[in-house]
Amino acid sequence: MSRRVVVTGIGWITPLGHDIESTWQRVLNGESGVAPTTIFDAKTFPTTFSAEVKNFDLRKFLSADEYEHHKTVSRQAGFAMAAAKIAWGNAGLDKVGNIDKTRAGIYLGGGEGPLDFQNFAKAAIEGWDYDAKVLDTKRWAEVAGACLKEVTEAEQDPNMAAGHISNLFGLEGPSFNTLTACAASTQAIGEATHMIRYGDADVMISGGCHSMIHPLGVTGFNLLTALSNRNDSPTTASRPFDRTRDGFVLGEGAGMLILEELSHAQKRGAKILAEIVGYGSTADAFRITDIHEDARGGIAAMKMAIEDAGVALTDIHYISAHGTGTAENDKIETKAIRGVFGDHAPNVPISSVKSMMGHLIAAAGACELITCILAIRDQVLPPTMNYENPDPLCDLDYIPNEKRPATVKTCLSNSFGFGGQNDTLVIKAFD
């Protein structure tokens, strides 16, 4: 008999808010979390705006003792701790003392912590020998050794958020961090689901966290020309599936879910929010920069997840698209959905909440899965904002500009990462 995996808690920290309900209302209202970048001075960058998490204070989420113990966390690990704390409380786990902590684990798609850029840049330019055009590593080490800080460096490792969270809740179950770029947290949730199904754990905190809104993060994406340059109109810059889309908008945040084996959840009387029924993961194995033109990896991931879920195509009521707003992604994702759903594709409502939240990179998939859970709860689908100009290459129903009441029982959520990583989850109302 196979073990079923349900969601019993959710929490997020996003550019649109720090709690579940008000953020969800903003998503349904089509509000934008995008604005000029304030984390660093981006005035001369090709892209000067982003979707920042505003007014975040970890102290509001932790007790004074907990905060004191964890205050060295990097920006994205702080988001992760806050989101995990919300989810843990939402699941009612703060009120049960007796779960077996050796069977409670964590599986995150956690990003690397922001580089200590000022000091990093200082050491780099002091070490650069302008005449010989080489890095003088002796000089570099002297400067770097004096200005880089023990704790700041340590907190940059991508698996540190998981370390902090397990410490916060005393977890000793399996602990993993994956970093498959934009697909990471979808992948984390899928793999965590399998760990519970197999019996490696009964409870898993799973999701992702990331903040690449720092000088080198934005540099990397600007060099790839992946970001929107609509500097004169940040709130309309993220326009998935619109013909005039010109790139994604970089966001930051964290999304966390409590996954639990069904009987474990029932025994403690937990409120069940949804059931994770399907997961698919594939590699494009095509090119380092481009998605396979026939969308073969995306098609295979969706098919694998749908087969795992054992649901009919016509039972899928909503697709939370990866929908980044780059010319390439949206065109090929549309092709992939057509490849899987065939003639039924135009009947399936699709939207991308990245049009409001921006692209949370490693955290995107988890936050988008949370919107699916809320869509099932409230029987309403979130819109794709800024959709004004139909693109003949994107010819499906993207729920343009306004939320839509609907019967929603089963949702599919896609995440596709740089490097050809494709992951899909299928989530269902619990019955």
Binding site: G105, D136, A141, E142, L171, L179, L224, D284
Partner: protein, 448 residues
Amino acid sequence: MNKKRVVITGLGVASSVGLGIDETFDALVEKKCGVRRVEAFDPSAFQSQIAGEIVELNVKDFIFKKYNKHARVMARDIELAVAAAYNAIKDAGLKSKCLVDRGEAEAVDIDSTRFGANIGAGLICADLSELAEALGTAAENPAEKGNRRFSLGKWGEAMTNLTPLWLLKFLPNMLACHVTIVHDCQAPSNTITCGEASSHLAIGEAFRTIQRGAADLCICGGAESKVNPMAMIRPELWHRVATNRNHDPARACRPFDADRSGMVVGEGGGLLILEEYEHAKARGARIYGEVCGFGASQNNSSWFRPQPDGRALRLASEKAMADAGVTSDEIDLVNPFGVGTKEHDAGEAAAIRSLFGNRTNEVPVLATKGAIGNNGAGSGAIDIAVVVKAMERGVAPPSLNTDKIDPDCGINVIQNDPIDLRAKTALTFAGAMSGGQTGALVIRRMES
């Protein structure tokens, strides 16, 4: 659940003592050491100036001609993974796309939709020379050495001195990205980033993927280079490195030795071919051994220091043994991480003592870091390849520099000379030095 059996049919290694599992294993048995003064850059201002460095590695030996242009966007970590991948495929007798394109095989004999990848990676360091040159063009006052100021305002323009694909050199999942393209692996793929535990966790997850039938083959393990100014200065800041033997590199890393003083960084990659048992039998593959159990846990007392009692390592090991259906009485070889710091080795030794009780002195402990240093995410898979080879050959290499076993550790580390080994079942474990994730695997030799 109808679980499939999972066997090991290929071992691929790139280490500072050899490019290939046999070269690496022979060197370990011959007590060769890959730790030397760093050659890649001038290390004279570093507290530790030595590393397990791979001096000669040409990545083009491990890819096909049409792919050579992509070598430009491979960070060192990616090169190591690509080298280990080629070696693993060859060792497994598989004919991948790469081998066909290289003219080393007639036709591909792998169903790419059933061939997955799970590759552990570290926090890949940017190429500092490349980045420093670009950042240097955004200095406000380059002439004022010692007081140069970086200008973000100039950087918006100056960043274009970097190659457009710059970011793609350093994303951790680019190891798996390149390997899956080069060998055409389209089944489930993942990248585990859990420091020194990455290989164990990646192999464990690949094991589960094949067990549940989602793939027939999986290339899994990890790779990392810590021979980079940034990767060398970080553990210095954390007081984890041996600083007292720069004059005698080959003696510097001393796992479980009474006189150990810290770790030595290194670089390397290890990738295994895991295969569903019937699939391996059907193609007449050489089967080294079987992955029988996997367990994972987490140090919940600290994200930065090891537990003195090695609790999470013990928990992961117990879970792996339970998963394999064996007790510690059946384990006849143990492979800890053995990085060579006082506190990490002490914690691992405590875990071993608590697992084996009064058998502790009977169970040989195989440790490799004295010869190759800490290869981060790549270390675990190199170790596991060595363990598998040791069981196949019936001989286990000694731990270099474990001259006098620390009485406080009190475990039976293989010292001085290789030993005859009649091990059937091995336990291997590792924990992330930062982050605290732990993984353990039980591996059984295949009876012929």
